[in-house]
């Protein structure tokens, strides 16, 4: 039997041999030597190049699309427009990180009656060379009837605002309005008596905030190749977070049975939620068929990625919070207006839960509005919706703490949620490690070291993310040499091949090196939800654990038969099997077992006990009062990981989330002109931070085991992007005395705020 040791909370847990170590990832060498195959690396005999024609206008009726001149071009093999798509199904598909109306998905692939944003796809072509494909695009004539663009939630909600969708009527918790509107839906979470709460408050802070559209910024552009064979079978190679999600979306929008489609995942150069919805795959399939059953590859340019794939929502927010003299929160109110882009589906629902989740308060009301505007359709981005609302809430909490002369960590400890407390949507929290994170930050070297120097300030903020479980499938094949071939369908965007193989090795009691993980296509592994929602190491990890248990049980049964003993008499130790004086190690057992018959086990899991994640962060900044530039001097993250399966990759997730959060907070934004044209559609002018802009980001992993997982794992991928904007806003305030209420807190905005405070006129 495995040895036992007491864990810090007093319960008894088995000592872990593999989980918690830091082995090299299986995909590491190929990636650092450039051999790994990404979406754009797929090549096939006779491969054609595809290109997409995109709208130069933000909002216009399409009068006519004339492709005749393009079709006449020698070397051009296919042209498709919305006319080649089957009628759009009016149905909602759950993609894991957000549900999607298939009608809107279809319309987003190729515009039908209207273009709804600068960059909206109108037609796609396939040709024998990229030059011919580009020439063909130039020959397609599109006649537009321009319409006024609607660029922000506040503009879209004006009574006389132009409507994006004539048939869109506000859904208010199930009740449809009579008149059409740009507000797709309104939701409300409420408890207690808000007015009574505010009456009891000694201090009330009421502020409005604005955040801009930002992009995930994955470094690999979307890239998809499709081959429709003459017998109707379709293979799609694509860079995606979810092969089954691609299969179902393609099947639905093209009206095909899923059995005809096989999706093969390539390596993926980042996704962060942006590679769940399809953009190119259905177009590649259509082009392949129209071109005469030859493969077609579509690869986006960086500009197309920025103009035409889902960024995340900009938002208008109002936060009003009251506290009594002891710092206890007595009333909390939020109004959240999230820009969904061209079609309904902003992450305002998740934002409404994130909003006040870290705080205990008896009187609460959160109103969320999903508003369509003439920007690209929003898609998931790492803890979708969380960063916007936490920026606003954490700024107000900081202001309350300051006005009550409370330390910001103390303010949060006074009001911190614990097991059994309820989220804004009234769902109770299971065992969480939020208080432990706050205490760990308070005791950290960073927080205990006073910050000195002019124009410097320290900020603190926290964040909650609910995580997700979802369905996962996997198979394990026992090899006679004692190794295990491990097939999963969870695409690996964050080191999950390593974290999953480690859990299987742990479950079997064997070494990590004995497990050979491989990511299978949709025909080789059973159904699997997308890699998203911080679920893979948790849920597919459950599957890995379960496979280990099943494989060991089957090996035990076969050895019992061979040894003619009762299976219960066989003991397991160090991966080996023993009964009486008979003892074999795992490799010997494998050889014996495989002599009887090949052994493969499969499992499908749908674990519900995904534990919530909390992150608490602290930043020191220096603000140049002459230029408004904010330099991050020092940054520390504390996160409850439940159990860090591979601590280096947990730290990587923590640092990655914060790096993106710092970019969002300080410089990233979509800049549009008054016509709704995106002006900064390049990585030169869409200013994501580079390595030169970030300090070393320190990490402190707290481990409060999640009771819903055999090793205590919680998802760790997303929560860290939630606190950075609030952390930095609070630090800037303490450095300068000004509160920035709009993101990004870029140099011109900081300067303007400093000038307003000092009365300086430029």
């Amino acid at each position: 039997m495995p040895s036992l040791s007491a864990s810090p909370d007093g319960s008894v847990a088995p000592a872990l041999r593999v989980v918690g170590t830091r082995p090299v990832r299986p995909d590491g060498i190929d990636k650092v030597t450039g051999r790994a195959l990404y979406g754009a690396d797929i090549t096939l005999p006779g491969l054609l190049t595809g290109r997409v024609l995109r709208s130069p206008l933000a909002h216009a009726r399409i009068v006519r699309v004339d492709t005749s001149a393009a079709r006449a071009l020698p070397g051009l093999k296919a042209v498709v427009t919305a006319a080649d798509l089957p009628p759009a199904p009016d149905r909602i598909e759950d993609l894991g990180e957000g549900a999607i109306d298939l009608r809107y998905l279809s319309d987003n692939l190729l515009a039908r009656e209207k273009v709804l944003y600068h960059g909206h796809a109108i037609a796609a072509v396939a040709a024998s060379t990229p030059e011919i494909a580009e020439q063909a695009l130039a020959l397609i004539r599109v006649e537009f009837e321009p319409l006024p663009p609607v660029m922000t939630a506040s503009a879209a909600m004006k009574p006389d605002a132009p409507l994006l969708h004539a048939g869109l009527k506000t859904d208010r918790m199930g009740q449809r309005d009579a008149a059409p509107s740009n507000v797709a839906s309104q939701l409300r979470h409420e408890r207690g008596n808000l007015d009574d709460g505010f009456r009891r408050a000694a201090v009330v802070i009421d502020r409005r905030f604005r955040t801009e559209t930002v992009h995930q910024g994955y470094i690999e552009p979307q890239a998809s190749t499709a081959h429709v064979q003459a017998d109707g079978q379709i293979t799609i190679w694509t860079s995606t977070q979810g092969t089954f999600a691609v299969r179902s979306q393609v099947a639905e929008v093209l009206g095909l049975p899923v059995s005809r489609i096989k999706v093969v995942p390539t390596e993926i150069g980042g996704g962060f939620g942006g590679k769940i919805s399809v953009y190119l795959e259905p177009l590649a399939v259509l082009l392949s068929r129209h071109a005469g059953f030859v493969p077609v590859r579509l690869v986006m340019s960086r500009t197309e990625v920025l103009t035409s794939t889902g960024p995340t929502s900009g938002s208008d927010l109002r936060i009003r919070i009251g506290a009594d003299t002891s710092g206890k929160l007595v009333a909390m109110q939020a109004e959240l207006y999230y820009e969904a882009g061209a079609y309904p589906g902003s992450p305002v629902g998740a934002a409404a839960v994130v909003s006040f989740a870290p705080y205990v308060c008896e009187a609460m009301r959160v109103d969320g509005y999903d508003v369509v505007v003439n920007r690209p359709r929003a898609s998931a981005y790492r803890a979708p919706g969380g960063t916007n609302v936490a920026f606003a809430v954490e700024s107000v909490i900081d202001e309350l703490a300051e006005s009550l002369d409370l330390d910001p960590i103390e303010m949060r400890l006074i009001n911190a949620v614990r097991e059994g407390d309820r989220r804004p949507d009234n769902l109770p929290l299971a065992r969480i490690g939020y208080v432990e994170c706050l205490q760990a930050l308070r005791q950290s070297e960073h927080y205990r070291t006073p910050l000195t120097g002019r124009h410097r300030g320290r900020g603190v903020a926290c964040g909650y993310w609910g995580n997700w479980g979802g369905q996962s499938s996997a198979t394990a094949i026992l090899n006679p040499d004692g190794s295990v071939s491990f097939n999963v369908a969870s695409t690996d965007i964050g080191g999950s091949r390593a974290s999953l193989a480690m859990q299987l090795a742990e479950s079997l009691g064997i070494d990590y090196a004995q497990v050979k993980p491989r990511i299978g296509d949709t025909d080789s592994v059973s159904y699997n939800d997308v890699t998203g929602g911080s679920r893979t190491t948790f849920a597919t990890g459950w599957a890995a654990y379960d496979l280990g248990q099943k494989l060991a049980a089957e090996m035990t049964a076969r050895l019992a038969q061979r040894w003619e003993v009762a299976p219960e008499s066989i003991l397991r130790a160090g991966g080996g099997f023993a009964s009486g004086d008979r003892r074999v190690d795992f490799a010997e057992a494998s050889k014996l077992v495989c002599e009887d018959a090949p052994l493969m086990v499969s499992t499908t899991v749908h674990p519900k006990g995904y534990g919530a994640a909390f992150s608490v962060q602290c930043a020191d900044v220096e603000v140049d009062p002459d230029t408004g530039k904010v330099t991050v001097l020092r940054y520390t993250i504390v996160q409850d990981a439940g159990k860090a399966v591979h601590p280096s990759y947990v730290e990587g997730q923590m640092q990655g989330g914060v790096a993106q959060g710092i970019g969002w907070a300080l410089n990233e934004e979509y800049v549009y002109n008054e016509k709704g044209e995106l002006l900064n559609g390049s990585l030169l002018d869409y200013r994501m931070p580079t390595a030169c802009d970030l300090p070393m980001i320190d990490t402190i992993i707290v481990e409060v085991p999640n009771p819903g997982h055999p090793y205590g794992v919680r998802g760790v991928g997303e929560v860290n992007i939630i606190p950075p904007a609030g952390t930095l806003a609070n630090a800037i305030h303490r450095a300068t005395g000004v509160r920035l209420t709009a993101l990004p807190m870029s140099p011109p905005r900081v300067l303007a705020a400093l000038w307003e405070k000092s009365g300086y006129r430029p």
């Binding site: 230029t627 530039k629 030169l684 030169c692 140099p747 303007a752 430029p762």
Partner: protein, 301 residues
């Protein structure tokens, strides 16, 4: 990108002849750091691309004994940074050539190309102006020499005739108590375009206490580089301690004529013109007095 004919010429006369024949469809390729991006993104088209890097005359770099420098049009920023004496003799130019791109870009990019691209935000142009640099041009009718100040006439436009090209940039001999600096502001520390830039050159008296002459040129705050002549007039012959930096900043702000675009706001740029002018002036003075390291940007050699 569409197909074009590629001409790797080996003489200035060949290049000029191709320009004359090719009319508007011919482009000169030097380092290519602007041209290739423009062609790929469809912002420019070319039927003929004339590659200048094989012309021996354009690769010449000389530091004549009497002072100054001769920088052939195809000499890269990286080559300049590695020349003994470049950084110490021309610190303001070194600031600029050192800032343009990363090491790989600097290995291709040229100062002549930066000038001919005529971006209002070009980093090397304000520095060239305050160093009093001159441009040597070649065309079908022969050669001519023009000052860098006035070479660019609008964003993306220069005084070059369609069949003319830059052969070299000449920097005149500099006085002994000379100091210069170029500073720019970018929200990111690398991989960014100047929101505003300022180059300052000073010539101090022997004690370093009086300005003999001062030149200030601002980048990215107007359609072309703006030389702040009122600062030159105000400071000439004055003690360094006499004129406040606030007054100098105000003169720089008054000269700026910025716009608001995706990279910054007009108010921000106007303000930065003053901030950067003063910071560059202080650095130039300390360099003239030899009291401070030559480059604030560090060195990756």
């Amino acid at each position: 990108m569409q197909a074009f004919d590629y001409h790797p010429v080996t003489s200035v006369s060949e290049a000029v002849a191709l320009l004359a024949q090719g009319a508007s469809g011919a482009c000169l390729l030097n380092g290519g750091t602007d041209l290739l991006a423009q062609l790929k993104e469809g912002r420019r088209t070319a039927n003929h691309v004339v590659d200048l890097k094989r012309i021996p005359e354009l690769a010449e770099f000389r530091l004549p004994p009497e002072g100054g420098a001769w920088v052939g049009a195809a000499v890269t920023c990286r080559t300049l940074s590695r020349q003994a004496g470049w950084r110490n003799r021309f610190p303001g130019l070194h600031d600029a050539t050192h800032l343009i791109g990363g090491v790989q870009i600097q290995g291709r990019a040229t100062v002549a190309g930066n000038l001919c691209n005529a971006s209002p935000a070009a980093d090397s142009v304000p520095a060239l102006v305050v160093h009093g640099a001159r441009v040597h041009l070649a065309g079908p009718a022969g050669r001519r020499i023009v000052p860098v100040a006035g070479f660019c006439i609008a964003p993306g436009r220069t005084i070059l005739a369609r069949d003319e090209m830059v052969v070299a940039i000449e920097i005149p001999p500099l006085p002994a108590e000379f100091g210069a600096a170029y500073l720019r502001f970018t929200p990111r520390n690398e991989m960014d375009i100047a929101v505003a830039g300022a180059a300052v050159a000073v010539d101090l008296d022997g004690e370093g206490s009086h300005y003999r002459s001062v030149r200030v040129a601002l980048g990215a705050v107007g359609p072309t580089v703006i030389e702040v002549e009122r600062i030159t007039a105000r400071l000439a012959g004055r003690p360094v301690a006499e004129v406040s930096f606030d007054e100098i900043a105000a003169l720089a702000r008054a000269a700026a004529r910025p716009i608001t675009d995706m990279r910054g706001t007009s108010a921000q740029r106007q303000h930065l013109a003053g901030v950067l002018t003063v910071r560059a002036l202080r650095l130039a003075i300390s360099r003239a007095r030899r009291t401070q390291a030559a480059s604030p940007t560090g060195d990756y050699l």
